[in-house]
Symmetry: C2
Subunit: 436 residues, 2 copies
């Protein structure tokens, strides 16, 4: 039991709130203490813990699936839609995939201690910029229980302690997974507090995390829908790595190979419609609208995509639904796309600036100069030439597992992998130098 | 005149506040528009603007000094202390130093466009991580009018627009300098809104900037005393690059060359006592206290430093004043130091963790292993071995001009130079790749 050490400042609050606040502050303090140990834990010890965590997850399969059944039953009782229940559901394969995911994180290079840059000053001082852990990372997520393992393991690899706050609907599943993770930490002699889970479904705990638990949390990563991410971005008093949405564009500029354009557009939209890198808008340059617009729309419709569009798109195919003003700003996360004709590169870039979300945008063209200009001027985390927006993913970038994608410009932008979960410091080696 | 475009949400506010809010939002929108132009301005154009800015500052010397006289007279009238008036004062030499400072910034490498990393994926995708500007930077400063030129020029070099909010006491001086800077921008055909100054001394403008001007400000940099920085850190809803204070330590560990230790300690404390990298605490290891403690204290006293200390320090020299609990946490910024004896490396690191400010800390020792451990475990932006803490400075690091030193772990840590004022994005070059 955590007894409050100090009641100062808590007087007058209702007893329930006081005790939640104390619980969360104590949890934050334990995370900070664990982070101090992790900061100097060596690669071997962290990897041993990760391998033990994977082993314990496999060993706990029965308990994890039993806990998941409780969550699933409650979600069905509550009349949750099938897609929700699918995100929540674990089975033997998904538990195995979680364990494998942890092993893959163990196999990544350890970023901590890496010398990013080093140089010698004229006075002989040797300066090194070296990667260090960030500290304590708070993860607030929704119904996918596997985030418990993925996020906890990725934070650990980068030497960070984590505080996990699962959605109330995946609470039992997450707790069962978390129990396995802490057994793995203990087996490698790392503090169990290195990965903690908020022990209550009280939503007030989220508000306390967003205030930083008295300086104990360095970064918050929200994982979930727009409503969750929006709340976190609005309320957080600590830095947040996140993207609110991915309103991604594909712009086809003349000259462009029609076959390549069709393949990229259909893949960008339809390969998986529910991911943030899926395209939501197709912009076709007026210079090739006559030859390319109708075939591109046809390819989308043949791939079972609903096409909404401007007057030109409607004229090109009578199955195109008129687009409303709202459509151009919408992340459908579904088999729907909005198609429009733009007057050249400038107009395309202006459209993306006005309607995009600074996430991922692509140009398809054989004109190298236009491509270079698009890549330079579009102010998004990821800009692509002649490739599908669905490559917006840490794994596809070769960065290994990612905790999410960030559209902010500070610290982490684009895929947030193990490197992006580090900070750095300057080590200066002297031989008695003083400053004149 | 800026007419409010939209009064929604402003109803009910007093007219004065409404108009300030509208003024500031319009200023933010103009900064954002200028930032868009700066983002793709080439190095030559930015450097031409910087050279023209330096020229205009020199040309405006008479007006700048006249404006400064108004500020100085008002400060004298208000009975401000001599040190304050010295910070505020400009003369021919200081105006020339400002112009030279701008030219030095022009001579720095342009960080924008630099490819930080690049690699090719097995599917042929070429991925580049390339530096981009951050966007719009808000600078909130106090009485030193030269910050107007230094900060505006450094932000411009990194392709960022800036919004400068000088202290009310340097308002006339800063406006005169700012007028010269905008003439330089115009001469190089860059938008004058690239460097803006808040046109009022109303302190409410600071509060509005800290809220981010409706998303127009990407980062705030406070330049000034602890009270200003503390307010900014507490209230800002946008990221802040700052340090609250520099409670820097020098730890002398056995074995250590006494002469080197004396030189480093006296330099770290006394070279300039008013900078954030000045040492405030000396920790002497018990293993060499008998031989080193008294001579180190003597060297400090002979350099006209007041020494406060624990029982051991008092026993070593009767001129040592007993240290209070508060002394160990104090940034004196003056010729005062606190001296204590610690029981080994662990105790020294624990002391620094408990009392330091994660700014700059140094170890003096001939024991390489102990030095490595100190540099690894002390969680400060800058850690030094056998060198003075006064090297904590962007110029001394060879990074060129700096806008300040940051002790946060996100994005910029340590000296904040032109590189730290950039973000990055991913450019992906394909040849028709789609994701399987």
């Amino acid at each position: 039991m955590d007894l409050p050490v100090d009641n100062k400042g808590h007087r007058g609050k209702p007893p329930g709130k006081r005790s939640l606040s104390d619980t969360m502050l104590a949890l934050g303090a334990r995370a900070r203490a664990a982070a101090r140990v992790l900061a100097t834990a060596d690669t071997e010890q962290k990897n041993a813990a990760l391998m033990a965590m994977a082993h314990e997850v496999r060993k706990a399969q029965t308990e994890i699936l039993a806990a998941n059944k409780r969550d699933i039953d409650a979600a069905k009782e509550a009349g949750r839609p099938a897609a929700f229940i699918d995100r929540l559901r674990l089975d033997v394969d998904r538990v195995e995939a979680m364990a494998k995911g942890i092993q893959e994180i163990a196999a990544l290079d350890d970023p901590v201690g890496e010398v990013i840059a080093s140089w010698t000053r004229p006075n002989g001082l040797e300066i090194e910029r070296v990667r260090t852990p960030l500290g304590v990372i708070g993860i607030i997520f929704e119904s996918r229980p596997n985030v418990t393992a993925d996020a906890g393991a990725l934070c650990l690899k980068a030497g960070n302690a984590s505080i996990l706050r699962p959605g109330s609907e995946s609470f039992h599943s997450s707790r069962a997974i978390h129990a396995a993770l802490t057994r793995g930490l203990a087996a490698a002699d790392l503090p169990e507090d290195a990965i903690q889970i908020v022990p209550t479904i009280d939503r007030a705990a989220v508000g306390l995390m967003l205030k930083g638990l008295d300086g104990a949390i360095d970064v918050i990563v929200p994982r979930g829908g727009k409503r969750l991410v929006g709340r976190v971005q609005m309320e957080a008093r600590v830095p947040v790595f996140s993207h609110l949405e991915g309103v991604c564009h594909v712009y086809v500029h003349a000259p462009a190979d029609l076959e390549m354009a069709k393949e990229i557009v259909v893949n960008a939209k339809m390969r998986r419609t529910g991911i943030c890198g899926a395209a939501e808008t197709l912009l076709v340059d007026r210079a090739l609208a006559e030859t390319h617009l109708a075939p591109l729309i046809l390819a989308l419709i043949e791939a079972d995509c609903e096409v909404r569009g401007d007057a030109e798109a409607q004229a090109a195919d009578r199955r195109v639904v008129p687009a409303t003003a709202e459509d151009w700003d919408t992340e459908y996360l579904d088999a729907i796309i909005t198609v429009g004709v733009v007057d050249g590169l400038d107009a395309a870039i202006e459209h993306i600036e006005a309607h995009g979300s600074q996430h991922t945008d692509a140009i398809v063209t054989d004109d190298q100069e236009a491509a270079d200009e698009f890549l330079a001027r579009v102010d998004s985390a990821i800009v692509l030439h002649n490739a599908s927006t669905q490559f917006a993913d840490g794994g596809e970038f070769g960065m290994g597992a990612e905790i999410g994608i960030a559209t902010g410009k500070l610290h982490a932008r684009g895929p947030v992998g193990v490197e992006q979960l580090t900070s750095f410091k300057y080590r200066v080696h002297g031989s008695g130098q003083t400053r004149p």
